[in-house]
Structure formats: structure tokens, C-alpha cells
């Protein structure tokens, strides 16, 4: 059976319990279709970077699915009908990622992320500056060689 990673966004007005109910409902659709959902991961209420159907925020839920195509299509059909689903994305993957999504670990706190100097990333704008040891050294300048040669020629 193919593997899918699925993310859907629920409206901001629904409560988190309702979101859990929704994901349970979608999970049962998959299971009725002969598949299984190995992971349900809620990312909580996140703000959207742009308005989707006049919503500024949304509840994100990720599902790891192993199911026949028909079951996934049925779930997607139900989602299109469902009023509280703003958007969904199903991606077929070669292997399911059991780890929690990377964006969850960085969500710990916006404030302490900016905390100290040390947790800043490398400065991208400095990367392409020439390093000191890449500069031509004085002693392999061609000019001096040149001068030596002309001298010997003059004496001959």
C-alpha cells in the first residue's frame, strides 16, 4: 500500500477537541477503506502567513497514512465537503517520517529564540567573503621574477 503524509488545516473557530474529533473521523474513513493511520500529530493553532477563506489562524493536523488510493480519495472528498477544513495537502512519500515535525521544536518560544548571541545562525552575508589564507602571498608575485629575468638579459 502506498504511504501518504497528509496535513489539513481546520478553521480557527473550532475548539481543539473538535479538531481531535475531526481527525478521528478522517482516521476512521481511512480505516474503513482498508488502510491505517500510523500517526496523528496536532500542531495546534498556528497563524497563517496569509488569509485563507478569511481566516488568519488555523489548527494544523498531520496524519501519516498507509492506505489504498481509494480510501485517501474518499477522505479528501469528505474534506472538500467539510465546512471546517480550510485546506489540505496529501503527499505521497517513499517512507513515513515517524519524528515530530521540525516546526514543532522551534515553536518553543518566539522570545527566547532571539535570546543570546550564541544561538544565532552563521551569518549568511559573510560566507562569501574571501578568507585571509586565500589571498595571494607576497612572495609569489610575478613581478619580481620578471625583473630578475630582464636583468640577466641586459648583462648578456
Amino acid at each position: 500500500m502506498p504511504l501518504y503524509e497528509h496535513v489539513f488545516i481546520a478553521r480557527q473557530d473550532v475548539s481543539s477537541q473538535q479538531v481531535d474529533q475531526m481527525s478521528d473521523g478522517f482516521k476512521s474513513i481511512i480505516e474503513e477503506g482498508g488502510g491505517k493511520v500510523s500517526m496523528v500529530e496536532s500542531w495546534g493553532l498556528r497563524s497563517l502567513t496569509y488569509k485563507i477563506k478569511k481566516n488568519r489562524k488555523g489548527h494544523y493536523v498531520r496524519l501519516n497514512i498507509e492506505a489504498p488510493t481509494a480510501a485517501v480519495l474518499e477522505m479528501e472528498r469528505q474534506m472538500r465537503i467539510h465546512d471546517d477544513v480550510l485546506r489540505f495537502l496529501t503527499v505521497r512519500v517513499d517512507e513515513l517520517d515517524p519524528n515530530p515535525a521540525a516546526l514543532l521544536s522551534s515553536r518553543g518560544g518566539r522570545d527566547d529564540r532571539r535570546g543570546g548571541r550564541d544561538d544565532r545562525g552563521p551569518r549568511r552575508d559573510r560566507d562569501d567573503r574571501p578568507r585571509r589564507d586565500d589571498r595571494p602571498r607576497r612572495d609569489d608575485r610575478p613581478a619580481r621574477d620578471d625583473a630578475a629575468k630582464t636583468e640577466t638579459k641586459g648583462s648578456a
Binding site: 496569509y50 516546526l103 522551534s106 586565500d134 589571498r135 620578471d146 629575468k149
Partner: protein
């Protein structure tokens, strides 16, 4: 006359070290549409993707990156535009 001109390769004064692709090699990060923090480094302040000639991402990974950015945009994790 011409054969006396020394064939010393003149090094350019501002030699830039070739940057390597940030997604190649061991323990390189995986390109994933969910990793907003990672993707943000390859997107300009206006929300446009940064060309690979600046970020030195290899062509293969730039294609994957583009796909990941587009997925993240669709899910509202990254902006299409910022004004």
C-alpha cells in the same frame, strides 16, 4: 619576444572560495516542507526564493527546495508575497 613572457598564472586578488551545497554531504539537513525555519533561509524578505547561485545549493537540491517551498506556501506556512 613572446616566449620570454613568464607564464606565471596571475592569481586574482579577490578570490572567492567556492561554497559547497548546504544539502550535500553527511549530516546535511533534509529538505522538508514542514521545516519552515530551514526553508526560510532560502527565501528572501519579500518571500521570493533566493537563486542558487547565491545560496550555492546544487541544482538537484534546488529543485527539491522549490517544491518544498511551494508546498509550505500552499499550507500557509510560508508567504507567497510580503509587502
Amino acid at each position: 619576444m613572446t616566449d620570454r613572457i613568464p607564464q606565471v598564472p596571475v592569481r586574482r586578488p579577490f578570490f572567492r572560495r567556492r561554497k559547497t551545497c548546504p544539502f550535500s554531504g553527511t549530516n546535511a539537513p533534509k529538505i522538508d516542507y514542514k521545516d519552515v525555519k530551514l526553508l526560510q533561509r532560502f527565501v528572501s524578505e519579500r518571500g521570493k526564493m533566493v537563486p542558487s547561485r547565491i545560496t550555492a545549493v546544487s541544482l538537484k537540491h534546488q529543485r527539491k527546495l522549490a517544491k518544498a517551498v511551494k508546498r509550505a506556501r500552499f499550507l500557509g506556512l510560508l508567504p507567497y508575497t510580503v509587502d
